[in-house]
Every structure is written in structure tokens, then in C-alpha cells.
Symmetry: D2
Subunit: 273 residues, 4 copies
């Protein structure tokens, strides 16, 4: 037997070594649960899921404005039809008769570097850009000009700009408008916009901030670590993945070959709230 | 080449067979996204994530009361400390240096029959119970007595009752109180309570409705199909899994052996909202 | 802290409850590893991987003939091009920049009920068929006639027969020939063939034993439990999945849309051993 | 509809753009399968699974000696008891009633940077070391001295050396002996040994080549790209993971808390081939 944290002692009993590890997220006692110090049953009914998400990840409750920002961010990424790789892998797995959780897990495995991962990369770009702007005591525009030039010289791709389908992503426009209304848009959103303008000014080509870049700037404004960026996209996309898995398993023939380009929308026509 | 939906025609071109498949969740056009018919950018800022979850899964917006019920359900299941298998598998995978999405996917793989899956099984039990109650024109108590007797005779375990730690699950109590305040508690919640009482009356042992059973009854009240039951648990638990993966990767040594029973809570002491 | 298998005792130490759990696969000691009782370093160089697979799963070494059968089974399922769902999900995940293990895991998630799972279902059919043949003291042909009639009356689909591409699966033909040469083909292979003939005789349609059915019959002959059936397919397909993930990540553009029907083989032309 | 590679043409038909993608692994035709150019049914019975693995990954059949080396490598890593994270995550997922493929996928997700990943890192170290040895026209010993000094100065950890349990890993010893007997051990194995000696000579501490380092050196000798290193470990460990999942699901209570350190081996006592 591996004794791990236990040492056999002379009398045949066991003694515990100091190998107790620590966790600070949830305290579990019989009939009592504390999430980041708050009683879970007190939180229920008092705060929204978006507020609880913020509390769970950051350890503190969001302000009312941050909560509304998080809600808008999560709504923005809830689904994007059948062509994203996360949807295709989830539906492909679902078509083999897999369980819902296995198909969703397979979808999440596709939310990596090139799909969703741009949020994390974008955050690092904006964080570095704002740091250098402060160090150099320059404007956002001047800093953007320096950075875009560096990127071009190194031949590096700038994450968070441009989209294979949308030339004016309606999600970015709305996220930035909400952030502005709530007073959340600050230096990072300013930097994102300055970089968008500099890309066009210096290269003659419009590559607007995409939804990944917009979320990245907003997560920077709310002081999330970039390592958690992907978490928001994963969380936001779960309902979409579930809806696709359910549609696949209730409406489609098992083991059909799923070719994304052969699909057609047959849902409700446009309607207003 | 596999021609799939394409047939080579005489002139060397390709003709498409009628193999266009349909999806009704999201319509994607350049610069325009419709989720269940609504413009995604119109939904952003106007509805909460919980409302968008309901819309994505059911195709229609929830009432204000349903939205509050969904929020409370999702908050109730956001985390339960380090001992659930989903947390242990996510942290174990995280400890090997895996990426966030891979560790979360591994956690979701553990949300299956015996962990989370009880919600789906419970829904089937309550749906059948209410169906038989109506057919037999009996009260909830009479129906519960008949069903519990059948379960005992068949030696079958009743999902949704009893918990390995909680004897009076605070989450159940609060969920049922909110459901009652919102007017959502109806025949299914009534049946759950009748069964809880009948279990005690007939067997002398208290096995109260657990959080899985409570969520199951509420999903029945809101007419969700039981196939989607697990989706709510998966979605609700993502923030918890993310927080554990982040804690593991930022505070713990890689490749440590994670023994759940050797942990200790070192988070904030109890505080009030 | 959860004390699990430990009880605090009066003197402030801990006492272990009898909660030591058992495993019989591998004994690990410093500088010594026993696999099913054999020293791992003694097995290395002395037996093939296929023999070690048999030993690990069954607890005993295979005969020379069983080893050759396992090798042929594993080789038969090593790859089937890009169209199987396991390959599509692995490549889709790989195209997002995921790590090799995540992409392979995503492929394995697609090896479920309708893809690979037929081996397990087939084993159960053959096991029941042979059991009833023995009980009824009938020939394979008579038993097959009774069973096929029952399946038809119940409108149930018979797993292990027919293929979407192959009308005479070369893998089945070769597996049965090898099994016959090695003296492994017995009652179960006989039953599979009798059922194939009865399907054609009674329905006028040829639905030959497919590779899943053939492997199922052979696993029955070697007395594997049906719960392990899928393991052989998963194991056999790993090299194929790895080759596809590597091809995707070294030759293709990230985030391309993978439509299976638009592919073409550009590998080596046919050659002989 | 996304038209992808199809353009609507005037007559209402569709025309395919040149978007046919290529794959060179397997050619699938009705009743005929070519793996890397060889008929799959010709390979069955003629080559072992290990040979087929080599063929699938490298595109060419191994020599007889390489095939024996691959077999020994795969056997060496087939299982290492219950404590590795891949086993713990697979068993944890299995304990929730998940399917075999989901539990195995969860195990594979744990085969990442710190568990299995050392093979890839080690290969890069040995490849760079041999490259520099050639460039500098020095001996392995001289090169090792330079490299180890650099690693120490940078405070970097050297992958492939040392083991948390084994001080003289019997698998390394046997792999190197077999490699030597087969004439496969060359510059890379020599470099691994020179580095092991230099670590001890310069630091006074023995950190022998571990099984990851040994496999890394051998994969270098057989000219595999380092990106495929993890594939061998994943493939080799599948039978072990399957055996653990099966043991968990057939012998243990569902939802038990799996604490690795509380286990005990109750398998067969040591026996000889």
C-alpha cells in the first residue's frame, strides 16, 4: 500500500503527516454550504447566476454594473450556429449515440487555441499594451501605432481582430455600447479601439475588434486574470452545445455524416422582444 | 472521394442531392445573428444569461418567474467543494498541466448516471407518478403510497431522495420555498413531498428530497424534457469546476496526489450578503 | 476536513478504518512492477504488445493462437479513413490547436453506441443465441431461424450485420479465415454465419457479418466479457486517430471547415507486402 | 445555407470549387481498404499490431528489430497501478456510471505535460543535444557537461530523469538492454546515459534516466517526430486504463471516494513466465 500522508507507527496504527491540503472555494458541512463565505441558500433567490459566476471565480460579488456586463458577455457567446468546431465535434459525437455530457465534453475540447482561445491571447495583448502605454506615458493611439508596427515587423498575427463571417460584428458593437453606458469601458476598451483604427490607418484594411477581442477588453476592465478568459466562452457556449446535441439526437438519423456546409436554418423568422 | 450528397453529372460538374439538413437554433448571416428568432444583439443587455439559457433550450423566453427559478436552480448547484467526482477528475487532470478546457471537459465526463444523472431519473419518476395520479384520479399521497410500495417490492432505489452528507439539504428547502413564492410549485413538487413523507411513514426512515430531486420536480413544473435534465447540472457546475482547476494550477504542486479526504477549507469565514 | 477512512482518536492521532480498497492489476514497489503477477521487465522483450493487452485485460497470457488472433483483430480496425465520426471529431478538435491527447480523447468520445458499440451488442446477441441453441439442443441453423424470426416480429435491428460501404467486408473474410486456420472459430463464429445465411434466406437480402460482428464472434470464442468489447475498438483505433490528428495539425490550415465528403486520397498507390 | 465549397450557378445547380482536401493515411473503397498503400486484409495475420502502429504513424513498415523495440516500449508502459493521474481520473469518472469510452477519454485527458508529456520534452532535449554534439564535434560526455551546466545556470528542470518511486527503473534498464541487443541504441541513447552520469558527477545526486527518458531516446533513434511522443504513451496505457475502469465498475461501489493512498494490491503473487 502507498502510505502517502500516513506513516505506520510502532503499535501498528497509523499517524497522519502534515499533508492536509487547502481549498478556499466552498466549505461543505452537513446541512450547510458556504460559497466564498456566503451561505449558498442565502445566495439562492438573492443573486443571479451571472453574479454567482463572478463570485465563484473572483471571490467577491460583482457590482450591479459588472453583473450586467457579465450577463451581456455570456449572452453574446451563447451560440453561433452549426459551423464552429465545438458544435461540429459535439454533434458528431452525439450522432454516435453518446450521452449528453460526453457530447458536451467533446465540444469543450474544441474550445482551444484557435476557437475561444483568442480571448486569452487578446487579454495578454491588451494588458501588455496598457502597461507599455503607462510606462511610456503615451496616448492609446501612439501606443497602438508602436505595437502594430512591431507586430508587422515580426509577422505576428494580432488576436481579437477580424472575423471569417462578420465585417461589423453586432456583438462587439453592442458589448462596447453597454460597457460605455455602464461606465466599464476604460483604458482597455480604448486601447482595443485605438488598435482597430491603427490597423486600418497603417494597412488600409479594416479588421474590426471581434467578439473575442471585445470580451477580452472587458475582462481586462474587470481585472480577471487572462488564464480565466476561456472559462467565460466555455460557460457561455454550454447552452448552445446542449441545444445542438439535443437537436441532433431528437431530429437526426444516427451516424449520418455531418457536413456543416450543407445545412439550412429552418427556425423561427426574425421577431422582436 | 466520397461524393456524399453530390452526384457527378455528365458534364463533369456536380449536382447536389436533397441532403440539406436543417437546424432551428441560430441563424447566422454576415453581421446578423438570430437566436431562436431574436437578434442576438437585441437580447444582449435586455435579458440575463439565465433567460437566454431558457430561450436557447426551449425556444421561447421564460416568464419573469421562470427566469428567477432558473437562476436559483443554477446558483444552487454551482459548487459543492472538492469531493464530488467531477471536481476530483477535473483537478486530477489539471494537476498534470492540462489546459483549462481539457480539465473542465474531464470534469463533465464525471457528471453521469450516479452524479447529476439522478436529476434525469427523478424527472422520469415524477412524470410517471403524476401521470398515474391523473389516470387513477387519486391524491398525491395515495399515489405515493402505491408507488413506494411498488419500488420496495421490486427492490428498486428511488432517485432524488437522501444525501451522503446533508440530512436536511438547505438547497432543497430554499428551492421549494422560492418555487412556492413564485407560484411555480405545483403537482410535481407536491408529488415529491408526498413521496418523501410516504418513505418516512412506510419505512420509519427519513430520506428527504435532495437537490437533484428538487431540481427534477422544478424542471417538470416548467415542462422541460427529462433528456435535458443533466444540462442544467453541467451548466451550473462549470464555474465551480473552473474555480477548482484555477486553484489547482495556481496554488498546488503539479502531479501531487489528490486525496479528497485530506483537504481543509481555508477560505473566508461565514459572512452575510 | 472530511475524515473519510480516518477516525480521530482520543490521543489526538488518527486511526484507520477498514477502508483499504483492493486492486489486482499491477503491484508497484520501488524498482519492481508486477503486471498480473509477472515482472514487467521480464515481459518486455519476451511478449508482444498484443499478448500484454490480453494479459492485462484477462489476467492470464494468451495462447500463441489467441495472440495471433488478437493481433489480426487490432490490425483490422486500425483505421478506416476520414469519414468515421471518431476521426471527424478528433480532426475537428485538432484543427482548433488542441493538444494531441485532447483530440484523441475527443475521438474516443465518438466511439459509442452506433460507432464501435455494435461489437458489444453483437456479443450479447451471439452469447444469447449460443446459450439458447444449447438449451434447445438445436443446430445453429435452426436457432438462427428462430432468432431472426423473433427479431423481425419485434422490429428490432440486428447489430453486427451490414455496412454502409462494404458489401463483402474484406476484414470479416480475413478474420474468419484466420480464426478457422488457428482453430479458434467455434460455435459463435458458426452462429454468426448461420444468422447471415438466415437473414438472406428469409428476407432475400444479403446483410453479411461486418467487422464489428466478426470481432464480436471472436471475442466470444476467447471468452471476453461483452463489457470489454469496445475496449478493443478503442485501442485498435488510437494509431489511426493519432495519424489523422498529426496530418491535420501538420498539413492543414487551423480552423478550416472539415467536410468529410470533400476529401480525396493522395497517399501511396497500392503496393504489396 | 453556408455554401462553403459550392457556388450556386445560373441554372439552379451547384458547382464545386476546388476545395477538395487531401489525406494520405487510408484509402477506402467498397470492399477494399488500403493502409499506407497496403491492403488491410493482406496486413491482417501477416504483421503484428505493433508493426501496424509503426506503419500507420510513419508510413512505412518497421524493420524486424524496430518492431521488437516498439513492442517492448508499449509493454513497458501498459500500466503503473492506481496512483498515476490518468488512472485516477478514469476510475473517478467510471465510478459515476460513465461508459467505458468516456472513462478512458477522461484518463487520456490526464496524459499531458507532467504525465507522459516528459517523453516529448525529453526528445527535444536529446535531439538538441545530439545536434549540438555534432556541430561542436565533441564527445557525448563533453556535450552533456556543457548542457547540464546550462540547465543549472538557467534553473531549468531536465525532463526524463528521476522518478518519484523508482531509483533504478527496471523498465529503463530493460529497454536499454533490448535496444543494445537489437543494435538500435546509438547516439541518442549514448547521450541519455552521458547526461545521467554528468548529473551525478556534477551534482553528487543520482537521477537516472526514467522510462519517459528511455522511450524518448529510443523514439529519437527510430526518427519519430517529437510531436508523436505522447501517442506512444497514450496507446500503451489504454489497456491499463480499461482494466482499471472494468475493475472499478465490476468490483467497487458507485460514487465511492477514491483515495489513491488507501489502496492495496490483492492480485496474484509474483510468478515467472
Amino acid at each position: 500500500m502507498f502510505s502517502g500522508g500516513l506513516d505506520k507507527v510502532r503499535d501498528g496504527g497509523w499517524k497522519m503527516k502534515e499533508e492536509i491540503w487547502k481549498t478556499s472555494i466552498t466549505k461543505v458541512e452537513p446541512n450547510k454550504l458556504l460559497l466564498r463565505g456566503y451561505r449558498l441558500d442565502e445566495l439562492m433567490g438573492a443573486i443571479t447566476f451571472a453574479q454567482a459566476v463572478f463570485l465563484t471565480l473572483k471571490g467577491e460579488l460583482p457590482t450591479e454594473k459588472e453583473a450586467r456586463m457579465i450577463d451581456a458577455m455570456l449572452v453574446s457567446s451563447i451560440d453561433h450556429g452549426v459551423t464552429p468546431p465545438s458544435c461540429l465535434s459535439a454533434r458528431t459525437i452525439a450522432s454516435t449515440g453518446a450521452s449528453l455530457n460526453a457530447a458536451v465534453a467533446g465540444g469543450i475540447l474544441a474550445i482551444s487555441r484557435h476557437h475561444g482561445g483568442a480571448i486569452e491571447d487578446s487579454m495578454k495583448v491588451f494588458q501588455e499594451a496598457v502597461r507599455r502605454k503607462r510606462e511610456m506615458s503615451k496616448t492609446a493611439e501612439e501606443t497602438a501605432a508602436i505595437l502594430i508596427k512591431e507586430y508587422k515587423e515580426k509577422g505576428k498575427r494580432l488576436p481579437g481582430f477580424g472575423h471569417r463571417i462578420h465585417t461589423m460584428d453586432p456583438r462587439t458593437i453592442k458589448l462596447f455600447r453597454i460597457a460605455s453606458d455602464l461606465g466599464i469601458a476604460g483604458e482597455y476598451v480604448g486601447m482595443a479601439k485605438a488598435m482597430e483604427e491603427e490597423i486600418e490607418r497603417s494597412g488600409g484594411k479594416r479588421l474590426p475588434v471581434n467578439v473575442d477581442g471585445a470580451i477580452a477588453a472587458l475582462l481586462c476592465e474587470m481585472h480577471f486574470p487572462s488564464e480565466l478568459a476561456n472559462a467565460f466562452f466555455i460557460l457561455a457556449r454550454i447552452p448552445g452545445l446542449v441545444a445542438h446535441v439535443y437537436e441532433e439526437q431528437t431530429k437526426m438519423k444516427p451516424m449520418r455524416q455531418i457536413n456543416a456546409k450543407d445545412h439550412e436554418y429552418d427556425g423561427l423568422p426574425e421577431r422582436r422582444l
